[in-house]
């Protein structure tokens, strides 16, 4: 292609169409379409091996896609890779700091590469170390820092020159809860300063707390995308969970509640049932369902220890989405491969 078509929608931070990357027989990324608006945190959620890291590596110009196109901040990641590199910053899945060097040396090194003089780089390093609570560890080798501190250093390194788009590949994997909240706070600060963040995570709570919009990715494909609310609505607007006093009553309780509109499921906990209001139902349907179900149980003399009514958790959304796609009959199956390569699939 000789001419470059300008992006139709100018305010997208990331725009991909039919992105494919294969490693041997494995289609790591299998037709990913993303449209990520500027100025937000966008979460890419998926299990291990879903293609999250490969997607990020393509967007950060570290890998060339086999087919499809990707534009970052309006620039093609293959043809305009040097321009893209000036605008983005990557924090890899495993800390991207040099563990042999001290915290300060890591920042100095990157500051120099980004074009600061030694003096400017030193000043910027001090500023960042102080802002991230790392000043006392400035002269410690990065290998000696705790996981949380190393991740903080990693984030500091990513914003020596604030990028327009920051890639965070599983930023809190392996961290304790306190370090995770500290890191989330830092990410929010970076976003408030005007950086768009593309975050991959396998933690639903992380996506739920941090991301404005979420794409769920599995087997190299985006299987759902939208705001948190939209994703939850797509699975069912609201759910009811009932815990019975006596697990032995569960079969009877299920028959009492279920009717042609409401499906009732057994939960792993033998005393718990869950019911889902279909997404098309009008507002208030969930409350009616709860009143109806609890009334019937009371009249039948089945004791309820507690119940909860609310939106499905992202966990439920995730399992519903990935579970429904896991079978052999995928709706968007690629055309059959030529006979030669079939054996390896």
């Amino acid at each position: 292609m000789i001419t470059s078509t300008p992006s139709i929608i100018g305010d997208l931070a990331v725009e991909t169409a039919g992105l494919v990357k294969t490693f041997g027989a494995m289609r790591a990324v299998d037709g990913v379409n993303l449209a990520i608006p500027r100025g937000s945190v966008y979460g890419v959620l998926g299990p291990n091996g879903a293609g999250k890291t490969t997607t990020i590596r393509i967007l950060a110009t570290l890998l060339r896609p086999d087919s499809g196109s990707a534009r970052v901040l309006g620039h093609d990641v293959v043809r305009e890779a040097p321009t893209v590199r000036k605008l983005v910053s990557l924090t890899g899945q495993f800390a991207s700091v040099d563990t042999d060097l001290t915290a300060e040396e890591n920042l100095l090194l990157l500051g120099r590469l980004l074009g600061y003089s030694w003096r400017q780089a030193r000043r910027r390093a001090e500023e960042l170390l102080a802002a991230f609570g790392l000043a006392s560890a400035a002269r410690d080798q990065a290998a000696r820092l705790s996981g949380g501190m190393r991740r903080k250093l990693d984030l500091a390194a990513s914003i020596i020159v604030a990028p327009d788009l920051l890639f965070l590949d599983e930023p809190t994997t392996g961290l304790d809860p306190r370090s995770r909240s500290a890191l989330w706070e830092i990410v929010r600060g970076i976003v408030a300063d005007g950086t768009t963040v593309l975050l991959t995570t396998q933690y639903l709570d992380e996506a739920d707390r941090l991301a404005d919009r979420i794409a769920v990715i599995d087997h190299g494909r985006v299987i759902a995308a939208g705001t948190r609310g939209e994703l939850k609505n797509s699975v069912g607007s609201a759910g009811l969970r009932i815990r019975l006093l006596d697990p032995a009553h569960r079969d009877r309780a299920r028959d009492l509640i279920a009717d042609d509109k409401i499906a009732v499921h057994d939960e792993p906990d033998p005393a718990v049932l869950s019911a889902r209001v279909p997404a098309q139902q009008r507002a208030g349907a969930a409350a009616e369902l709860a009143a109806h179900a609890l009334g019937r149980l009371t009249r039948a003399g089945i004791g309820v220890s507690d119940f909860a009514l609310g939106q499905p958790s992202l966990d439920e959304v995730f399992l519903a989405l990935t579970g429904s796609q896991a079978g052999p009959a995928q709706p968007h199956q690629a055309p059959p491969a030529p006979a030669g390569s079939q054996a390896s699939r």
């Binding site: 590596r57 950060a60 110009t61 570290l62 040097p82 590199r85 000036k86 983005v88 910053s89 990557l90 924090t91 890899g92 899945q93 495993f94 800390a95 991207s96 700091v97 040099d98 563990t99 042999d100 060097l101 001290t102 040396e105 090194l109 990157l110 120099r112 590469l113 980004l114 074009g115 600061y116 400017q120 910027r124 500023e127 960042l128 802002a131 991230f132 080798q141 390194a157 914003i159 020596i160 020159v161 604030a162 890639f167 706070e185 830092i186 600060g189 970076i190 300063d193 005007g194 950086t195």
Partner: protein, 262 residues
Amino acid sequence: MTAISSRERPAPASPLAASLVFAWRSLLKIKHVPEQLGDVIGIPVLFTLLFTYLFGGALAGSTHGYLQFLLPGTLVLAVVFVTVYSGVTLNADLATGAFDRFRSMPVWRPAPILGALTGDIGRYLLAGGLVIGLGLAMGYRPAGSAAGVLAAVALVLLFASALSWAWITLGLVLRSPNAVMSIGFVILFPVTFMSNIFVNPATMPGWLRAVSNINPVSHLVTATRALMAGTATISQVLWAMAAAGALIAVFAPLAALLYQRK
């Protein structure tokens, strides 16, 4: 958290500046991880002592006389073995997220490799200086001038930098730093022994002498020995430089190609 972000965007470092920053990084690693110099220091010291005192008398009639012959050879041996670390460190680097970050930055692509090669010269000087120092302490006296010794060291550094490209190529292909180290040493042991480092090839059987005579290491040792003895001819030095040039011509483009594909 106030104003931790800086929107000021300086022009990225020039290719030269970026390479020098990576050279600095390489020197920092020598400073922070000195234990990786263990083999670097061990092998040449051991070989110089071992061959001089154990075999010197048998090979050359006297340990002192043998040392005069051997020392330029162990200088080459020491530095040539150290070159393997160029591939080892690159391989270790590629496996880390740090390298991914460098590659996603607006940094001249070859800078990490060229910078590391420049920094590696520090390691070669350390190993070479150690061997010469040890030799002087053991009674080695170069017959040539100080300028001749310096020229010899410069020639060895040139050859080492050229040979590093072979290990960088290997470092880009193999899976682990240990594999680079093992294969490097497995190649270097026969190559350095089948040369004129330890003995005069005239005593070897014909086929081995032929191998030794085309061995690039032999050309380097011949030139180094002659420079340090003050008897060097232009053609001896040119042969050594040609060997270095051939290594670069083969491995530098290969490494560049592999690196691009990474």
